[in-house]
Symmetry: C2
């Protein structure tokens, strides 16, 4: 199997390092000549070019661009590839991607390897980034079996934990545990910079410790990623934000009305539930 990787950032670069270390011939494409060069220097690809014509003979292509560039990239690539080439992506939202990409290339299967680091770009690429991490495939009823089989085989080579889901279910699950936390957390920081509370905030900045640090981490992260998630998973994000607001209203009601017993039950329940979400 000859593999193409379009988009040589952290995910594309790490994928290349892993696949080459497992003996697969790997060809990279980036818009920037410097990135092609760096990917070759780092051993993430056997060959690389800014010209997608280099992908003419590959069997499977991983589109590793940001979300907004996935469908446009597929349009750019398809004039150059074999009719039976399998396309897959690594985007963190699936419904909108699967809907826009499947009509362009029926031999497409959506995927989401859930790995990352605080750093980005080819320079941060590393071996075994995907080992032990979830890798979700989101085929539809029309997705060719051989496309699913090929990406499954690669996810296994990466030693990822493979899951299969509908695009919609994937998007609801990540909305809950990945996208909702970003906006909950941003709301916390936003509350703590309210100019009406300037005096309390000046003291709060000196007193803040690990509770604030952890709860605010993802809300203080990369704005570009937060916006892309909101754009591409808008419907599910609004749904979980609304569910969250209902829970928050319940909590405010309980505190306002001094329902200590029910607050205790709620916190017992959240304490008991949390470990079921910890995989590390």
């Amino acid at each position: 199997m000859k593999v193409g990787i379009v988009g040589l950032g952290l995910i594309g670069g790490s994928l290349g390092l892993d696949l080459r270390s497992r003996g697969l011939y790997t060809i990279g494409v980036s818009r920037r000549p410097q990135t092609c060069e760096l990917a070759q220097q780092r051993g993430a690809v056997d060959a690389a070019s800014v010209d997608p014509a280099i992908l003419a003979t590959v069997d499977i292509i991983f589109i590793c661009t940001p979300l907004a560039a996935i469908a446009p990239t597929i349009r750019t690539v398809i004039p150059h590839i074999k009719a039976d080439t399998i396309l897959t992506d690594v985007g963190s939202v699936k419904q909108s991607i699967v809907e826009s990409c499947t009509p362009l290339w029926p031999n497409f299967v959506g995927g989401h390897p859930m790995a990352g680091t605080a750093e980005q770009g080819m320079a941060a690429a590393q071996l075994n980034l995907f080992a032990g991490a979830p890798y979700v495939l989101t085929p539809t009823e029309n997705t060719p079996q051989r496309a699913i089989a090929a990406v499954t085989e690669i996810a296994q080579l990466l030693k990822a934990r493979l899951y299969t889901s509908t695009p919609d279910l994937h998007d609801r699950a990540v909305a809950l545990i990945s996208h909702l936390p970003i906006f909950i957390s941003a709301g916390l920081i936003d509350t703590c910079i309210n100019p009406d509370e300037a005096e309390a905030i000046a003291l709060a900045q000196k007193l803040a410790s690990s509770g604030f640090r952890d709860t605010s981490r993802v809300g203080g992260g990369n704005p570009e990623l937060g916006v892309a998630i909101a754009q591409h998973n808008q419907e599910q994000l609004v749904a979980v934000l609304s569910q969250y607001r209902d829970r928050l209203d319940d909590i405010i009601y309980l505190v306002k009305n001094k329902r200590w017993q029910e607050i205790d039950e709620l916190l017992q329940e959240t304490q008991a539930a949390r470990p079921q979400f910890l995989n590390e």
Copy 2:
């Protein structure tokens, strides 16, 4: 200066270890004989007893019990102590404590050393727990200067970062950066166990990673502490929860109406503001 410590848990025990290491004679009181024994074995106190009469000659007493026990403990202690003994506490809420304790013993000053570990109890006590951590004193206009001076001296011995604030301002500041995160975070977990979303949640449990782990940490913590905070800082907690809900409503509005530019601005702002709250 001879120091009394009532309540020999993590905070009381760590205080004793530090003060004895700096040469102060330290007397402990606990309701449980085994705790008195352990405190002596660990070198956290020079003497200890279940009988508050042992405090007859001390100059200053730290009340290190849970919030609900602070005022009742002061009532138990005052028949046994000198009239000029200084009392202080270590509770994480100050307005309600200062209001209930000052009438019992005018020579009282509220305090809040903001240190802790994941573990609790005398067995977890450690040297230098307070070094570099905030220590907030919350005198009122009637608090005797020598009470403030004595606790200030000890906070300096502990190498804590000393701040002075009104009880009300303290409670607003900790409501923002310490109490609000607990309930925001509990609301996240509560949303992620919504039985209407069972299928998405089953997948979400497998996919959850560091974003969920960090954002949910304090909401999955000790329920007893969460309830005590809600009880003792109820008014300020309701206020910041309501401010937070307003911010959340703004965010939901922006996502619902695809105001990407404004979402980007919000996330730029929260990213820029967060480092001002990180002291470590």
